[in-house]
Symmetry: C2
DNA sequence: AATTCGTTTCGTTGTGCACCGAAGTGTCTC
DNA sequence: GAGACACTTCGGTGCACAACGAAACGAATT
């Protein structure tokens, strides 16, 4: 048969669990297997098979980083095609991204042991612009002494084997931020200095007034749009 | 769950048989159940369930005409979305329409007992423009005496109960042409007058030189692009 | 009324596959 | 090294559904 084979893509779309995963991925960020599994309400091993199928269909690309695997849409065309397809069904739209940005869920949060979100990405950018941090393929190289002064932080010296600064895929910005010992110590210092406070049980964080001043004065980071800590809580 | 529900559409696309049907329908014409069943290589009863599914997904609309049911894509947006989706898969394109138009399969053919194809649609247009034929909801009303002269045909008088001129969904043009006794007698006269000849075993027809003259002079129909009869056969 | 044809409904079979539990691999931390 | 942790592979279960035969329905023709 000479029939065009968009049934492969159709097959990939033809399952509710995969649909839920794709809706998460429509946000543009990269997600781990576990997160997508949770989004689809299935176990990780089921998510693995789903994601392989989406990969085979060319809708999703996956990238291994350490022990995590990050999945994201194969490109903007995919998102566009899916959006157009979803527009055929006059249901509620699927712009989770906007909802999430509007709702204060995760503009500022911790990622494992380090800082994540737009602020973390902006910090990474700022440090790179000042030449304190350089990207070298899949890793970061930091001028340690200068980082101290740039951040006003006294970081413990590197213990050795573990890379001092690693890039970590940021959920919201779909770009890398600083992980590893350096990221961990930055977050610790920010907490101890009272720059950040936990918002609830989850990983969400709030910026305090001194924290906003510190990040803005030291690195020129934009802090106006971030969620600030108020006395209400 | 608040997840968007494009899994319904995805489900509809997620089957090879339905994909084959949709590829046929991408041509823009309306197809009967049986034709789509044949295109998908399944039995008509299987095609029925597939088509209901496509209907529920909002991809296809169906219209009953006599004992036939005509199915076509719900609208141009559907075709566009499918095309964009198919473009994600870098396989061979699905433009059957163009192939079929380029290949001389069915520019001019008989439909049951009457004439079909672009020429038939153009004829219907021309007769309506001259006020000889009027559309009245789901049927045609013809000024019989004037039709005679306009076509240079002597049509037998209407037998009674059966509507003299009925609209019939044209495959190629996705628009109606003239069926019923009127359409039948027009085709008969065209054959007897040597205006048209059969091309092979199928319903394909060829236009002869006198036929081209007749259709062009009497109704101003465009005949240049239609398949002409030559001595080769 | 009988026949033919296109379509649909029903009942059944068979298969594909989503799902999970258990176990295995690779990576990171202590 | 041991112990977490993220992910994958394997095996098995259960369900959804594509497919067809048989039969019913409706429209058109005789």
């Amino acid at each position: 048969m000479v029939t065009p084979r968009f049934d492969i893509i159709g097959q990939a779309l033809g399952d509710a669990s995969r649909t839920r995963m794709l809706c998460e991925l429509m946000e543009g960020r990269a997600f781990t297997n576990k997160e997508l599994a949770s989004a689809a309400s299935v176990t990780p091993q089921t998510a693995t098979t789903h994601l392989r199928l989406l990969q085979d269909a060319g809708l999703v690309v996956s990238e291994k980083r350490g022990r995590c695997v990050f999945h994201r849409l194969a490109g903007p065309e995919v998102a566009q095609a899916l959006e157009q397809l979803a527009a055929l069904a006059p249901r509620d739209s699927l712009h989770r991204a906007q909802k999430r940005k509007a709702g204060g869920l995760a503009q500022l949060r911790s990622c494992y042991d380090h800082l994540a979100g737009p602020l973390a990405v902006a910090m990474t950018d700022a440090l790179q612009n000042r030449g304190v941090l350089q990207r070298d393929g899949g890793r970061f190289v930091a001028q340690e002494s200068e980082v101290w002064t740039a951040l006003g932080v006294t970081l413990a010296p590197d213990k050795g084997a573990r890379p001092f600064a690693r890039p970590c895929m940021d959920w919201t910005e779909r770009r890398d931020h600083i992980a590893g010992p350096m990221g961990q110590q930055i977050l610790n210092h920010a907490k101890e200095a009272g720059w950040l406070r936990r918002a609830g049980q989850n990983r969400e964080l709030l910026l305090t007034a001194p924290g906003a001043r510190a990040f803005h004065q030291m690195l020129g980071l934009p802090v106006a749009d971030l969620p600030h800590f108020t006395q209400e809580a």
